[in-house]
Amino acid sequence: MSNIITVKKGFDIKIIGEAENEILTPKVESYAIKPQDYIGLIPKMMVKEGDRVKAGSPIFYAKHNEKILFTSAVSGVVQSIKRGEKRVIEEVIIIPEQTQDYEDFGKESLASMNREDVLEKLLKSGLWTLIRKRPYAIIPNPDSSPKCIIVSGFDSSPLAANYNILLRGKAAEIQLGVDVLKKLTKGNIHVNVSFDKTTCDELLKLQGVEINKFKGQHPVGNISVQIAKLDPINKGESIWYIDAQDLAIIGKLFATGRVEKDRTIALVGNEVKNPRYYSVKLGASIANIVEKNVNKENNIRYISGTVLTGKTISYDGYLGAYDNLVSVITEGDYYEFLGWVLPGFKKFSLYRTFLSGFLNLLPKQKRKPINIDTNLHGGKRALVLTGEYEKVLPLDIYPMQLIKACIIGDIDLMEQLGIYEVDAEDFALCEVIDVSKTDIQQIIRDGLELMRKELGE
């Protein structure tokens, strides 16, 4: 059974450096778990530097719920625990061994397991942390249950990885993963795919799920937009979601009893020589991937995640917990003489004050990929223009009003304006087109965190 759902608003930004259809397997010399990838998490360490761990061994647990374990992707030695300001743990770095050694979580058949057994296996293996919930985009409380679970089967962000390639050959695992999810909820399992891009049987032939085909431009791939169309979140409700690739990891655990956090990622961006796919494990160092594959040594930015929402990392940094993309783009720390006056043939703008802005009127298939850099293109100002965010936000939300409610920290107003229905990433395009250069995603994230702290989950 499949539904076709059309999202009208939004915009696909095409950028130079999309990955080619080829998967390489690089040698990765170190792995890391970064507690800060998990929103609101305070880690409690279970290992020390120098300890030996197996793939699936616990590294730390969540302070707010000690049942939630975070486990190693590989077997090896804990090389260092890096701390930042106020001794916050930033990275737990693990050096892998030649031959991999796995914790055994048992191969009991799924049919004979009940919800508690499944939960326990997911929590112990650390794969519970692959599931997130809305509102707040945090790891769900295992004692709660959602009204439905969404399997995210495509990404509409600029330069996003192609899920037809990411999921290649993982059909059985994904199906088993779906069966696991069915033990967790009485609600529907939605598999959300792209109407025009998703062609792989790995998703389209899944059994026992509701397949929704989404048509439209970014942010059509965002969970909030999909939820708004399928079953909007009301106060007190929650929805869980998981990436299709991560579902395969869960499927594999139940098939083999091992934690194998395989993740295919794409290396993309206008500063990458040969943008391609790489088969790695969760938390892999990007050093060997980007080495000799970028256009210049300095003045480029490495991002774990998309150019809209990702985190800046160093050239030897580590892949983020929920990312399947490494974007590399030009740093924009240059002055531009009278840059705000020029006609702008080559500038990126969604406004038609630049001549290049007219190119955006073309249908998305005809638009050419563009070059981007990280220049802010102007100074920060008070919010002046109105009616612009609405053009790229396909939600029944008043963005300007919600942003202002977040700035003043009025939780009643935020709730009334629909904060539960959004996440920071939904405002990425608003942030890109904002003439006042406001950091809107940060404002929304702070607003969400304030809600969570004041009201609990």
């Binding site: 703008s349 220049n375 293109h377 102007g378 029944d396 890109v432």
Partner: protein, 388 residues
């Protein structure tokens, strides 16, 4: 350009904290960012941003004002010479008209910018902010809604009043709720009525014998139709404020604003619809001659067109929601025509109508947003949620 960049880089430390002139930091920054788009890069969130910034946005509005400014300048000269010699043709004295106009308009523009920008720079420095570009537009709008003979000291006072009381006390551009340029005009209108009304102020140094009445004043005095033909009023060959006479020149600006997407088409369209609805209503039920003129005469008389295109669309003081913009614009059109026709004291309804709706815009938005909130609560209750 390297030379200029080097000079700026050398000067920069002097204006920073601990330098020689830290109290001029905002001023230096304003000039530096005028010459060069800064090298600041993204830190949080989206890693790349649209090339459009506030400077260019505001510049677009100024460019859109140029046709009205040029035509207005010429027309001031023409109206002056016409009052001396009623037989003179529009193109008979091109250079004289233009030169006379420049001599009248340029000082007003200079006074408006100097006074306004000094206050803006002062406040930016005091707050430690960057100088906001909002006044670049306001500083041009103020001269364009002034009568050509307005004394310069009055322009200075009105500008100072509108920037300080209309804008800065609320926190500067983006925080004000009244359109600063209209506030300047309203200030003069009520503080110095002799400079802003009557038949003598709309033509610069008018010859006494010549009637300088604007079409609005004629209608108010009971004429059945203005002396100027519809075509003359459309083109703008009539007495009036500097920039507001020519509907055609203003429409050229409107095309640019709509083309670039800077001006709100919802507001512009709904102002015209509102004006038409009120005009037609008067046609049906009115009794005096003013109520019987065709509704499109209202578009070309006085400041209706200028207000609809440049004043009502100010994003800061207009409604911020799309649905609110329809209501806001519509009511501006209705009120403008209503005040013109019914109110005996004020010939020009556009200014007061926009200021009035500026005040009501937050209320309109409140109800528009409230309907969204109610919808959300209703959805929740249907799911069995408790009362909020």
């Amino acid at each position: 350009m390297k030379l200029l960049r080097n000079i700026l880089d050398n000067l920069k430390p002097d204006f920073e904290k601990g330098g020689k002139f830290p109290w001029l930091h905002s001023t230096f920054d304003a000039f530096e960012t005028f010459a060069f788009v800064p090298k600041t890069t993204t830190k949080n969130g989206a890693h790349f941003r649209d090339a459009l910034d506030m400077k260019r946005t505001m510049t677009m509005v100024i460019v859109a004002l140029i046709p009205a400014l040029l035509f207005g300048t010429y027309n001031i000269g023409y109206q002056h010479f016409l009052s001396l010699d009623p037989k003179i043709g529009f193109f008979d004295e091109i250079w004289n008209n233009l030169w006379y106009g420049i001599l009248k308009v340029l000082p007003i523009i200079i006074v408006s910018y100097v006074v306004g920008l000094s206050i803006e720079f002062g406040f930016a420095q005091w707050r430690g902010h960057e100088v906001n570009e909002g006044f670049l537009v306001t500083g041009m709008l103020i001269p364009l809604v002034m009568p050509p003979d307005v004394p310069l000291w009055q322009v200075a006072m009105a500008t100072a009043f509108s920037v300080v009381i209309g804008k800065e006390v609320f926190g500067g551009t983006g925080m004000n709720f009244l359109n600063p340029a209209l506030l300047a005009r309203a200030f003069l209108f009520f503080a110095f009525p002799s400079s802003m009304s009557g038949d003598n102020v709309w033509i610069a140094e008018k010859a006494d014998a010549f009637s300088g009445a604007t079409p609005l004043a004629e209608m108010m005095a009971g004429a059945s139709i203005p002396t100027h033909s519809f075509m003359e009023m459309l083109l703008g060959v009539m007495p009036g404020s500097i920039g507001e006479t020519s509907a055609i020149a203003i429409l050229l600006g409107a095309i640019l604003l709509l083309f670039t997407g800077i001006g709100s088409w919802r507001i512009m369209l709904s102002v015209f619809v509102g004006g038409a609805v009120m005009g037609l209503t008067f046609n049906l039920f009115g009794s005096n001659p003013y109520t019987q003129i065709p509704f499109y005469y209202h578009y070309v008389m006085g400041g209706f067109m200028f207000g609809a295109v440049f004043m009502a669309t100010d994003p800061v003081t207009a409604s911020q929601t799309n649905r609110g913009k329809w209501i806001y614009g519509f009511l501006i059109g209705v009120m403008a025509v209503l005040i013109r026709v019914v109110n005996p004291a004020y010939p020009e309804g556009m200014m007061l109508s926009i200021l009035l709706l500026n005040v009501f815009a937050p209320l309109i938005d409140y109800y528009v947003v409230d309907s969204n909130i109610k919808k959300r609560i209703k959805r929740w209750k249907m799911k069995g949620g408790e009362n909020v």
